[in-house]
Amino acid sequence: MSAFKDPFDPAVKLGPCACGGHASQHEHDAAAAVPAAASDDLYSHFVESAVMRALFPQDGARRRFLRAVGSGTALSAISALFPLGVAKEAFAQAGKIEKSSVKVGFIPITCATPIIMSQPMGFYGRQGLNVDVVKTAGWAVIRDKTLNKEYDAAHMLSPMPLAITMGVGSNAMPYTVPAIENINGQAITLAMKHKDKRDPKQWKGFKFAVPFDYSMHNYLLRYYLAEAGLDPDKDVQIRSVPPPEMVANLRADNIDGFLAPDPVNQRAVYDGVGFIHLLTKELWDGHPCCAFAASKEFITTAPNTYKALLRAIVDATAFAAKPENRKQIAEAIAPANYLNQPVTVVEQVLTGTFADGLGNIQKVPDRINFDPFPYQSFAIWIMTQMKRWGQVKGDVDYAKVAREVFLSTDAARLMKEAGMKVPASNTKKFSVMGKEFDPAKPEAYLQSFAIRRT
């Protein structure tokens, strides 16, 4: 149904219904009811159209007015009077890219797959962008370089933009997650000497590493330990160690294990220093991990660049979600310029056919998966855990922060264009280690844990 005519075109006649494409309002309603989730574009045209129709009940008058002043003047005159913000955004959609050379920072882990692969595989190029993907040493540095605007957008752990927005661990700055990079794809790896200690209850006194304080890794490890009755702050030690240093530390016996992003887990197996105890998928199937993050400032000052970038990421994610493409991706991202890992390690992570370090070959095709949709319930869960472990104190307006940071609307529209299935709702219920989480009742969920810092 492409009959949403441009109301600012003097040559177009608006019909008797709201959009002008139907013989009557009744017929319009019937047609509109079919594609219930009309995209933002169509929606804003609808708004403009309605405004024009209200201003000029007689079509002849509207056309004369437009011929006299031109559509640009008409639009600015009307924008001054009406909140046409939504409409303006729709016009920008087709607009020029403000900044074709873009810098995106990443940490060399497989979570960054869509961000990285988009360069060698040409997803950025197809959107008319010249993107430099820059390898960065750690999460604190990537945060600072993004806050500095050295990077236009970056690969971050999905809790980081929430923490930055709330001003936890850095100055508050409005930050956004337009897309999730990957789901699942993490694992708990233990040193070889703990081969027989597969029950977490035996882990008292262990030293663990996680990539960052504000990471899914930290929250999932704490959750797992707490479910086994261990207090993560008292019974074990959890340190924040950059992923590249984890295997070296495990080898040197400085730590007993880690909950880390891949390829670190697989690399520990490859080097014979550890084994994969469990995949995080077994704790929460479909959990988010890393995010594609951009400052609110970037997405408002360079909206077209932002959209092109997001479109590239969403397209790449759609490509990566198909198992048959994984081998090809592994080859593209393994070289020194990107992950700098042996191809077989990356391939084992992406294809899910991997050595577990104990002599078995496991086949878990969704060991890592790719789904860009930033469910707001993910954000709410993350905030409950931030509060649970004392990173955030006091009241949190869960729904508001989630809505402002996890931009599901943009992702939904682009996913639709990329031919992906778009979820019907921004929130969903899920369960972590068998316990259901209801995003509508975060406080009750938080209070239900025996071990917590609140």
Partner: protein
């Protein structure tokens, strides 16, 4: 006999090197491990792990081969994050150079002032004493936050670390110019500026260049750590990137290169020092 001693010293150096490489070679010889029956599983692992072992430190032969491979093509560019060792060293040297020159521009005039005026010396002394022992890397988070540019931040860190030896040595050199010479200058009624350039500067030059030499040594130590922290480019980033890949052959190669460049820098300043030293 200095000539025969030179020869003996060279032979002894060679012998020490041979012993070291031999010991290294023996220490890294692969130990026989259990061979895995399941070849399909073994294919998914590294060579040592497939033999039921932890991966090991590379031997001298592997390192030498890798060195040859890297040195054959030092200026390749395979994307933003993968560039040859020559380019990485050039980045590091440029940063060290920029930070060092800036530090010299501040430290030498300020050192002159401190050396010539006991009042200023006493007034500035507490600040110098507090700032001097701070590890330059501790400035990094603050620098990143305030300067808002990682390349400039690393130059700033080099500036901060190389300023103190130059400042203190200049002040000391200027303060300890022989009184006779100053008195002679006074009797000849030499102007202040002329006195500074024709009497004090040549007299203090050896001490000042010693300060510069120490500063350069420290700057070269610090740049590696700074680049490992910030990443992007430079020899420190190269080390970090290869650590990320647990490629010890490349890390050892980088260590050797850092040593060689550091030695050359020190040698250059040593020559400069000789040039400005005079014999009474």
């Amino acid at each position: 006999m200095p000539k025969s001693r030179n020869l003996a010293a060279a032979l002894l150096s060679l012998a020490i090197f041979a012993v070291f490489v031999g010991a290294w070679h023996i220490a890294t010889l692969p130990t026989a491990g259990t061979v895995m029956a399941d070849t399909e599983y073994a294919k998914l692992l590294g060579t040592e792990a497939a033999g039921g072992q932890k991966s090991t430190v590379p031997g001298p032969k592997e390192v030498a081969l890798n060195m040859w491979k890297q040195l054959k093509d030092p200026f390749y560019v395979r994307g933003t994050n993968d560039q040859g060792i020559g380019i990485q060293l050039a980045y590091s040297l440029a940063r060290v150079g920029a930070g060092f020159v800036l530090a010299a521009l501040v430290a030498i005039p300020l050192g002159f002032l401190i050396g010539m005026s006991p009042l200023i010396h006493q007034a500035l002394n507490p600040f110098i004493q507090i700032l001097k022992p701070i590890s330059p890397l501790a400035w990094m988070p603050l620098a990143l936050y305030t300067i808002k540019d990682s390349a400039t931040s690393s130059i700033f860190v080099i500036f901060v670390c190389s300023i103190w030896p130059m400042l203190i040595n200049t002040a000391y050199g200027v303060a300890s110019v022989r009184k006779d010479w100053l008195n002679v200058a006074k009797t000849l009624e030499v102007g202040a500026l002329r006195k500074a350039f024709t009497v004090i500067l040549p007299a203090a030059a050896p001490t000042i260049t010693t300060g510069m030499r120490i500063s350069m040594g420290i700057a070269w130590l610090v740049i590696v750590a700074a680049e490992m922290l910030v990443g992007g480019t430079g020899i420190g980033y190269f080390v970090w990137n290869e650590w990320n890949n647990l490629s010890l052959t490349n890390v050892i190669f980088a260590i050797i290169m850092i040593g060689i460049v550091g030695m050359l820098l020190d040698f250059a300043f040593g020559r400069l020092q000789k040039l400005v030293t005079y014999v009474d």
